[in-house]
């Protein structure tokens, strides 16, 4: 099952490599990864998605917790959560296709953030599923490149991952 694991770690050089190294070393896979400092500059918040069985995911969280620089972590998929991912997708366009792409982008509540004579760059925010659906929807057009931020997420309600 798909898991979204979110963790707070010391904002120190080398901390990220320990998290990534752990996954490589123990044969877990990382589907997406997003990391940046938080409002507290001594802390980084890291969100990763992985596909794991219940037993594997228990081991993953235990092993992550063992890393000295990991302060706290939560498996968001254990409860209710909000997830978002940002995608920029550059499409090759000719005159006839412009309207169609604009309409599809509107339906997905995306924005066209850059245009050139032969290309549109669309920005889209949503769940990973929604981004996948958009890629599917524009499959008939020529996709030049895609960049996705990786998933970020928070628990719903008052629950929080904080010190």
């Amino acid at each position: 099952m798909r898991r979204i694991i979110s963790l707070l770690l010391e904002n120190e050089s080398g901390a990220l490599s320990r998290v990534i190294g752990l996954f490589a070393q123990r044969g877990y896979n990382i589907e997406t990864l997003a990391v940046a400092p938080t409002d507290d500059e001594t802390l980084s918040r890291l969100t990763l998605t992985t596909v794991a069985t219940d037993e594997q995911s228990e081991q993953i969280t235990k092993q992550l917790n063992k890393l000295v620089e990991v302060i706290k972590l939560v498996d968001l998929t254990d409860g209710e959560y909000v997830e978002r991912e940002l995608m920029l997708i550059k499409l090759r366009v000719n005159g006839l296709e412009q309207a169609e792409i604009k309409r599809t982008t509107d339906i997905f509540r995306g924005q066209i953030v850059d245009i050139s004579p032969n290309s549109y760059t669309v920005q889209l925010v949503g769940t990973s599923e929604k981004l996948d659906a958009f890629i599917h929807a524009v499959a008939a057009f020529s996709v030049i490149e895609v960049v996705r931020s990786g998933v970020s997420g928070l628990s719903r309600g008052e629950k929080a991952l904080s010190l």
Binding site: E10, G14, R18, G21, K62, N65, K66, V68, V70, L163
Partner: protein, 576 residues
């Protein structure tokens, strides 16, 4: 105001480090100069950095204190890697200080540069890259705390040369307290879980205690002893746990696992309640996991939550320090043991009868050569046990000789049996014995090795000469990589691909060249006398080169693949 080098040395003194094992080089010259100017810390110069880590490791296993290593950058650091990995796999507290090239050269592929933090990352509990001399004291404090607390392990501190420059002085104060928000090892167990475990123990009809190296590392042997005796349950120790419970006691069933005894492995397979303490269900224990202890409810005590339910699901997990948890257990057991039903007491008695019938098969009986010309390796260990009165500290390398030592030298006390269990590092035996001898100059320290393993760190005979370490080396010389050959006999139809040791040195001449005493033994009737002679030379390193039966296998041995714990080879061609 002090230099980085002086701060490092002072900080080590603050941590009561009195022995450092190392090898100098460009990146650590400032540190070596600072060491030269003091006399609290004694430095031992090895001949290869791997040996420094194994010495620190042996020192740590024997004393329970962190071993300390100092190596230079590049090859110094990479040579230390095998020893760090060995310590990591066996949860041994160790602090390794590696020199690094100057800060401005990092990342430029400069001379003797290697990314030590990166290379060591998967095999350390934690590591520190020092960026300023002002960070050194706190890093040392943290390193020793992390290495020795919770589940212990090795910690690396990598220090660029410019940071130890004697010309650059910075303020120094050693931190008194330490609080790490991201590192809080368990200091006690959950009382409700312990209570549940005790209730389960009281319902057991075929209980079994399975105790590992964590009991020794966690200083819980006295408590384990008391608990086991109050309960009256059978107990087995892992390879790493030997000595945690007295091996000559009647409740002890011997070692378990791949080369465990018939009684220990059978009792594991048939038990209904398994009490695992400081053990991690390693693949060398369980054989096929899906067939492991099919009827057992499992209680698992470990200080490391990640060890619990990693390979075998625990019914009652208890995370906590072993001594604390066992103390609580003892108190609770004392209150309820008198109320154990007669039915359960009878079942336990029947269980012991069953165990005794397994035990009566005497699976470790040595079939002595009737012609009297061939020395069986087991006989050598038995002679060693007899002549040292079971009181020596025994280190070993890795292979058949390691298993013979584990099976035929019953250890009654912890920290007397020192071997590389997790990583299985050949070359560990001699340097770890050196570390033990340095920690305990008065102890009888014996290294049981083979002609393969000993040659992986034989250069340390020179270090032994320098520091006058009177270790006794028992070389079970079967002229082959015995364990490899055994597997090839059993699984590859006897095709001995590269398991011969051709061109063996004349070991007696070799050790004499280093200034030690060498004795070769070729027949069984010389064995006792030669060993007595070796042990009597109190102040000398003696190398006993014993030519043993090259055809001998280690038994019992688990049937693999797909076998359960009770599926064993008992001798050549004979299985359970």
């Amino acid at each position: 105001m002090l230099s980085g080098a002086d701060i490092l040395v002072r900080s080590l003194q603050e941590e009561n480090v009195d022995h450092v094992f190392g090898y100098p080089g460009g990146a650590v010259l400032h540190i070596y100069d600072a060491l030269f100017k003091q006399n609290k810390i004694h430095h031992f110069l090895v001949r290869h950095e791997q040996a420094a880590t194994h010495m620190a490791d042996g020192y740590a296993r024997a004393t329970g204190r962190a071993g300390c290593v100092l190596v230079t950058s590049g090859p110094g650091a990479t040579n230390a890697i095998t020893g760090i990995a060995t310590a990591y796999m066996d949860s041994i507290p160790m602090v390794v200080i590696s020199g690094q090239v100057q800060s401005h050269l990092i990342g430029t592929d400069s001379f003797q540069e290697t990314d030590m933090i990166g290379i060591s990352r998967p095999i350390v509990k934690h590591s520190f890259m020092i960026k300023s001399a002002t960070e050194i004291a706190l890093a040392v404090k943290k390193a020793f705390y992390i290495a020795t607390s919770g589940r212990p392990g090795p910690v690396v501190i990598d220090i660029p040369k410019d940071i130890t420059n004697p010309a650059d002085l910075v303020p120094y104060e050693y931190p008194k307290d330490l609080k790490l928000r991201s590192y809080t090892p368990a200091t006690k167990g959950h009382p409700r879980q312990i209570k549940k475990a005790v209730s389960m123990m009281m319902t057991a009809e075929r209980p079994m205690i399975y105790a590992g190296g964590g009991v020794i590392q966690g200083n819980g042997c006295e408590q384990l002893d008391e608990l086991t005796r109050i309960l009256g349950f059978p107990i087995t120790n892992t390879l790493m746990g030997l000595g945690a419970y007295p091996a000559t006691d009647k409740q002890f069933l011997g070692m378990l696992g791949m080369h465990g005894t018939l009684e220990a492995n059978n009792a594991m397979h048939h038990c209904d309640v398994l009490i695992a303490i400081g053990a991690r269900f390693d693949d060398r224990i369980t054989n096929t996991v899906s067939k492991f202890c099919p009827q057992a409810k499992i209680i698992h005590v470990d200080v490391d939550p990640a060890s619990i339910s990693k390979t075998v699901m625990a019914d009652i997990p208890i995370v906590g320090p072993v001594d604390w948890v066992l103390r609580e257990m003892i108190e609770m057991v004392k209150q309820v043991i008198g109320k154990r039903t007669e039915e359960k007491a009878k079942a336990l008695a029947a269980w012991w009868e069953q165990i005794d019938s397994w035990r009566s098969q005497n699976c470790l009986e040595v079939k002595v050569d009737s012609s009297g010309s061939v020395i069986k390796p087991q006989q050598v260990i038995q002679a060693l046990y007899k002549l040292t009165h079971g009181d020596a500290v025994v280190t070993s390398d890795v292979g058949q000789h390691q298993m013979f030592a584990a099976l035929y030298y019953p250890f009654d006390k912890p920290r007397k049996w020192i071997n590389s269990g997790g990583l299985g590092t050949m070359g560990f035996g001699l340097p770890s014995a050196m570390g033990v001898q340095i920690a305990f100059p008065e102890e009888q320290v014996v290294c049981v090795t083979g002609e393969g393993s000993i040659q992986m760190n034989i250069q340390e005979l020179s270090t032994c000469a320098q520091y006058g370490l009177p270790i006794k080396i028992i070389n079970l010389n079967n002229r082959a990589l015995g364990m490899v050959k055994q597997w090839q006999d059993m699984q590859y139809e006897g095709r001995h691909s590269h398991s011969y040791m051709e061109s063996l040195p004349n070991f007696v001449a070799l050790v004499e060249a280093y200034g030690h005493v060498g004795i070769q033994v070729t027949s069984p009737d010389e064995l006792d006398l030669a060993m007595k002679k070796a042990l009597a030379l109190k102040d000398k390193l003696v190398f006993l080169d014993v030519l043993v039966d090259p055809e001998e296998h280690v038994y019992p041995m688990h049937v693999a693949p797909d076998g359960s714990m009770r599926d064993m080879w008992l001798s050549k061609g004979v299985r359970t």
